[in-house]
């Protein structure tokens, strides 16, 4: 089984369009949405949820007011300034990192560490194949751990079903969620735009994938809106020995499909952008086979 992670430096570069379309055209695959921070692939794939599981990760401190003498030890030790002291101590859950130091050093054992419920993950069926996805609780952290979980579950399930490909919708940025979505990947398909921010963000992601030694292939979205920008992207890729394997044209069908909540390749199979997406997949699959 081979795993391909679809990334963009930032959202809005066409990653969801590409992901939704790959979900339709790649045969024999399992799909994982590791962009758990603002998951939205489910809007395109119409999943029928088969299993729903809790995602519990880390702990959160809570003061037992009856036991607390207000000595202030915990306030001093908490590196996140999550604890305030009135008559007794109080932990602000949104600030607590769950390090447990306060609980360890409280002389009265007045602090409990509770498991933190951070969200849910799902196993679903879609018209395009099995799909693993998640929903992170509002304002929760640990998206890196949830990303790893979603990915591992997709791999496990994919192995069971004897699938050939795992297609992963990766997280944006270069921090913990994206690092978690990269681990163990065979290839990255990086979608970018011919804009200064597209180039800048792509550069940062390429450094990251080089850091983890994962073969990376670039696809330039809406390249015809700014051909010089597209050229700058190609030059940057050339210099870094990264192959540009696709150019998607600006195509109004993309937004039309998005508004209807359908992958563009299924709604407008012969539109210029759909043709270009299919070519990207042909190239990528033959390189990886």
């Amino acid at each position: 089984m081979k795993e391909i992670v679809v990334l963009s430096g930032k959202g809005g570069t066409g990653k969801t369009t590409m992901m939704g379309s790959l979900a339709v055209i790649v045969p024999d695959k399992i799909i994982a949405d590791c962009d758990v921070d603002a998951a939205d692939l489910h809007l395109l794939l119409e999943p029928e949820i088969k299993e729903k599981h809790d995602f519990v990760s880390g702990v959160e401190a809570e003061v037992i007011p009856d036991k607390c003498t207000g000595c202030g030890t915990c306030v001093e030790l908490c590196k996140w300034e999550a604890i305030t002291l009135d008559e007794t101590a109080y932990v602000e859950p949104l600030d607590c990192e769950g390090c447990g130091v306060c609980a360890h050093f409280c002389p009265e054992e007045a602090i409990m560490l509770k498991d933190k419920h951070c969200g849910y993950w799902f196993k679903s069926e879609t018209p395009y194949g099995p799909f693993v996805h998640a929903q992170l609780g509002i304002g929760e952290e640990n998206s890196g751990k949830l990303v790893s979980l979603v990915k591992n579950k997709a791999k496990e399930w994919g192995e069971e079903l004897g699938k050939k490909w795992v297609i992963v919708d990766g997280a944006p940025g270069i921090g913990c969620p994206v690092i978690a979505s990269l681990s163990g990947a065979h290839a990255v398909l990086l979608i970018t735009e011919p804009t200064p921010s597209g180039l800048h963000d792509m550069g940062r992601v390429l450094e990251l994938t080089a850091h983890f030694k994962i073969p990376t292939f670039v696809c330039v979205n809406k390249w015809d809106l700014h051909p010089e920008g597209a050229k700058a992207i190609e030059d940057h890729c050339d210099k870094n020995n990264v192959a540009v394997i696709g150019h998607l044209p600006y195509d109004p069908c993309v937004v039309k499909a998005m508004v209807q909540g359908k992958p563009v390749v299924s709604l407008f199979a012969d539109s210029p952008v759909s043709v270009a997406i299919k070519e990207v997949w042909q190239k990528l699959s033959s390189i990886l086979s």
């Binding site: 963009s8 430096g9 930032k10 959202g11 809005g12 570069t13 969801t16 921070d37 603002a38 939205d40 809007l43 880390g58 702990v59 030790l77 590196k79 949104l94 990192e97 769950g98 390090c99 447990g100 130091v101 360890h104 050093f105 992170l136 509002i138 304002g139 929760e140 952290e141 998206s143 890196g144 944006p172 940025g173 270069i174 921090g175 913990c176 969620p177 690092i179 011919p194 804009t195 200064p196 921010s197 800048h200 963000d201 940062r204 450094e207 990251l208 850091h211 809106l225 700014h226 920008g229 937004v255 998005m258 508004v259 909540g261």
Partner: protein, 275 residues
């Protein structure tokens, strides 16, 4: 006053709006890019950087000459950053959250202070705008410590425009937590609405006043507007979809320079928020 510009997802035009606000504001203004994973504001404001500060966190370095392999440090560390087995001890500084627990529990004083570089804070100015952003080191997983380091440079008494990272998790919270007001930027599509709902959930939980700007107005449908009406959320501005804007963006031209006619709306928006 601290005004944050955020969105449930990246690519909605958050930086476009934040930069426009900074350029249209009068008086003492600071633009602060807290999207440290992919900072973009500098591409449009083109600031002169005059100061660079490396941001580090304190991580453990084990002094094996003093260590008795008692395992207390391993037991207190909730992030698996230390392992002890038999007469072997290993610290994994990249996993460390810098809680200092291990330093505190070690009776042998066998743990020395080391450093992990998280990224760099850069300060400078763009015309009359004070500029500050953070750049996360490639390979570094944790952005909140850098975001906090950036925010240490907030100028009191200035109008501070905070460009927030995308999403709804810890980096966003670290940015918007103490903001006085938040502007959420979204798009008129089902995706825009999905992401907007998540972002609104965060702000309601944090209890921060906010309103919405719809970007690329005209590309999609009216479901964002309908939802905002149902929820009683103010839509302060609709930035039209215009190929000229996209082309200006592609040339790193700030929106209010491509479309000078939009300046007045940003000025008015700032006026309303200030009240």
């Amino acid at each position: 006053m601290k005004l944050a510009v955020a969105s449930g997802k990246g690519g909605t035009g958050k930086t476009t709006v934040a930069v426009s606000l900074a350029l249209c504001a009068t008086g003492n203004v600071q633009y602060m890019d807290c999207d440290v994973e992919e900072p973009n504001g500098h591409l449009f404001l083109k600031p002169q950087i005059t100061e660079r500060i490396t941001c580090k966190v304190t991580v453990p370095v084990i002094n094996e000459e003093k260590c008795t392999y008692c395992g207390k440090c391993r037991d207190i560390c909730r992030f698996n950053a230390i392992t002890v087995f038999g007469k072997t001890i290993m610290a994994f500084p990249e996993l460390c959250h810098a809680c200092r627990g291990c330093f505190l529990v070690c009776d042998e004083k066998a743990i020395d202070e080391g450093e992990r570089e998280v990224g760099v804070v850069e300060k400078g100015s763009a015309g009359s705008i004070s500029f500050c952003h953070g750049k996360l080191r490639i390979g570094e997983a944790m952005s909140p410590p850098l975001i906090k380091a950036v925010k240490k440079h907030i100028i009191k008494d200035a109008l501070v425009i905070l460009d927030a990272p995308p999403g709804t998790t810890c980096p966003v919270i670290a940015t918007v937590k103490d903001a006085d007001y938040v502007i959420l930027v979204t798009e008129p599509t089902p995706f825009g609405l999905n992401d907007l709902k998540l972002a609104v959930g965060v702000l309601r939980k944090l209890d921060i006043p906010f309103s919405v700007i719809i970007n690329r107005h005209g590309i999609g449908d009216d479901r964002v507007e309908r939802w905002c009406a149902e929820e009683g959320i103010d839509i302060k501005m609709k930035i039209p979809f215009d190929r000229k804007i996209a082309e200006g963006y592609a040339k790193a031209q700030p929106l209010v320079e491509t479309r000078t006619d939009l300046r007045a709306s940003f000025e008015q928006l700032l006026e309303e928020i200030r009240q």
